[in-house]
Every structure is written in structure tokens, then in C-alpha cells.
């Protein structure tokens, strides 16, 4: 398994844990993403993954009647399998921002999005908000050059100024428009 796939596996497992332990009544809680509930965040994550799988011809069918946990685990298992399949991993996806191999997209935009939304689900469902520190450091470094392309309606909000001496996770959350001390204010 590549380093990227291993990192994805760790981050994905963190998201799965938050989804698994989310009490049923908390799925309707408002999330840090404007206008989205916790369930909307989870659906977004599933859709982002599926869009990449569709692009490389590796989509899976899921039943909308199934639980979020069930659909998420099927999707992330398929996604990881695609990352570990040399032929699928090398497939190219062309979008408005150029051509990217699936494995690069999986290890960058998809992974970083998953990381942010792990925190979103955790914070509104009163679960552990600690993220994978290595993944956070890399995400912050790699997302900075994309700052001008990741903000706007349906994307991340404006950067928040982090407090002095903020650790890397707080810096990361502020960069993606989260206010770590009052998450529901966004």
C-alpha cells in the first residue's frame, strides 16, 4: 500500500469513527458548513468520493435507504481499493483546474476535504475533535497555494486569523474558515 493510501486509510478511519458514534438525533445538528446539518456534511463527503470514482469508471451502487454509515463504509472501501489498484490509481481526471491522476486527487483535495469534515462532524456531535496531526500538517502546507480556489459558496469560507501560538490543527481549521472556539457561529 502506498504512503498516500496509508494516510487516506488513517484519515478515513477517523471519519468512520465519528460517523459510527454519531447519535441518530444529532445528524440534524447544524454544522460549521453554512446551511448544512451534520448529515449534509456526511452526504457531501460521500458524494465527493463517488464523483471521483465515477470519473475513473469505478463507481459503486448504494441504496439511498441505507444508513449513512453503511453507504460511507462501502464508498470509502471502494475508494481505497481504487487507490491500491495501479491501473485505476493512474487514471486521469480532467476538470476546470487541469488534469490530475486519481491517486493525486485522492491524496490531496479529497483527503484534505475529508479531514476538515471529520472535524465538522466531531465538533457538532460532541466527539473527539483531535485530527491526525501528520495529515493536518501536510494538508495545511498543500492547501495554502490553492487558497484562491477553495473559497466561495459551496466551498470553504474566508480564512480566520488564528490565535497567537495556535497549534497546527488550529491553524489548519482557521485556514479553512473554521472558528475553533465558536464553531457554530460560522
Amino acid at each position: 500500500m502506498s504512503n498516500t493510501a496509508q494516510k487516506y486509510l488513517r484519515v478515513s478511519a477517523g471519519f468512520t469513527e465519528r460517523v459510527r458514534h454519531c447519535a441518530a438525533e444529532r445528524w440534524t445538528s447544524p454544522s460549521p458548513c453554512l446551511g448544512w446539518t451534520a448529515a449534509d456534511v456526511a452526504e457531501h463527503v460521500i458524494e465527493v468520493h463517488r464523483a471521483q470514482l465515477v470519473a475513473i469508471g469505478a463507481d459503486i451502487q448504494t441504496d439511498p435507504a441505507e444508513s449513512i454509515l453503511h453507504r460511507w463504509t462501502k464508498t470509502t472501501d471502494r475508494f481505497l481499493a481504487a487507490m491500491n489498484d495501479a491501473e485505476l490509481a493512474a487514471k486521469l481526471i480532467t476538470g476546470p483546474l487541469g488534469t490530475v491522476a486519481f491517486k493525486q486527487l485522492a491524496g490531496s483535495i479529497v483527503l484534505h476535504d475529508l479531514l476538515v469534515h471529520t472535524w465538522d462532524i466531531a465538533v457538532v456531535t460532541d466527539q473527539c475533535t483531535e485530527l491526525d496531526n501528520d495529515a493536518v500538517s501536510v494538508a495545511l502546507e498543500r492547501m495554502r497555494p490553492m487558497s484562491a480556489f477553495i473559497r466561495g459558496p459551496g466551498m470553504f469560507g474566508p480564512e480566520v486569523t488564528p490565535p497567537e501560538h495556535a497549534d497546527v490543527q488550529i491553524q489548519f481549521l482557521c485556514f479553512v474558515g473554521r472558528s475553533p472556539h465558536s464553531p457554530r457561529s460560522l
Binding site: 487541469g98 488534469t99 497555494p145
Partner: protein, 154 residues
């Protein structure tokens, strides 16, 4: 065994950047024709046309590049572009902050500062986005020294 066809966006960028400089020096913009996609988008923010602006499709973009250089760059004797940080590969392309320093006899140097993103499809430039950070300062320099600079080319 599948071959690794991961696009080399840095190589595409360096090819494009070198060709741009050749086109600028020769004023023969055909040299970059093959390096742009048919549907390229060209976005230069922070300064109005003809220096900046938003343009679509190859013919319009090449025309905009030429107009921008004629309206601004060619008014100076020397133009020195430089990346102020090592360009980094990002998903789909390359990002770097830059300066372009302009020199003209009898005048102090002046520099445009900005950020640039270039995204590639099949090795061709598909989206160029540039944010000019200090246009007001540099346009004021041009206004003050207008009569000492070369006349604006049509």
C-alpha cells in the same frame, strides 16, 4: 504493467513559460499557439484591461497577452520576471508568487508583485490565473514617469 501517465505539470509549465518569453522578445505569439488549449481561460485580477482582464479561447487570450505587453511591459527597456518562491506543483498545475521588475534609463526600478496559477490539460495551458498585488503603486509610477517611458504601442 500499467505505465505511469501522471501528468508532469512542472515540465508543461516550464515549456510554456520559456515559450512566453520567446514570444515576448520576438513579438511572434505563434510560438505559444500549440501550448494553449482551444478553450483556455485567462484571468488577470487586480488591474483593468488592457493590462489585466478575463479572456476565453486561444485567439482572444493570445490577443490579450499581446495587448497587455504592448500597453505596459514594452514601455520599459528591460523586463525581468522572477519567481519569488520556488514554483510548487498543485493538483492540476503549478503555483508561484512572482515579481516582474521593469528597468528604464534614468528611472528607478519598479516591480509588479503577484501570484500565479497555471493549470494544464494534456500538457497544454487550460487556465491561467494571476492576481496582481500592487497595481496601484506601479500604475502611479507609470503615470508620474509617462513622458520618460517609451510610447504605448497599439
Amino acid at each position: 504493467m500499467p505505465t505511469d501517465a501522471t501528468p508532469n505539470h512542472m515540465k508543461s509549465f516550464l515549456t510554456y513559460a520559456a515559450a512566453f518569453e520567446v514570444a515576448y522578445e520576438s513579438d511572434d505569439w505563434k510560438v505559444i499557439d500549440d501550448l494553449l488549449t482551444d478553450n483556455i481561460s485567462w484571468v488577470v485580477e487586480g488591474v483593468d484591461e488592457p493590462i489585466g482582464g478575463v479572456f476565453f479561447r486561444r485567439e482572444s487570450v493570445i490577443s490579450a497577452m499581446r495587448s497587455s505587453c504592448n500597453a505596459f511591459d514594452r514601455r520599459f527597456d528591460v523586463r525581468v520576471p522572477a519567481a519569488t518562491e520556488t514554483p510548487v506543483v498543485i493538483p492540476g498545475g503549478v503555483y508561484f508568487p512572482f515579481t516582474v521588475t521593469y528597468q528604464h534609463p534614468g528611472l528607478p526600478d519598479t516591480s509588479l508583485r503577484g501570484l500565479e496559477w497555471d493549470f494544464f490539460v494534456d500538457g497544454k495551458l487550460a487556465l491561467h490565473r494571476e492576481i496582481i498585488l500592487n497595481a496601484d503603486e506601479v500604475l502611479e509610477f507609470v503615470r508620474v514617469h509617462d513622458d520618460q517611458l517609451r510610447p504605448r504601442k497599439p
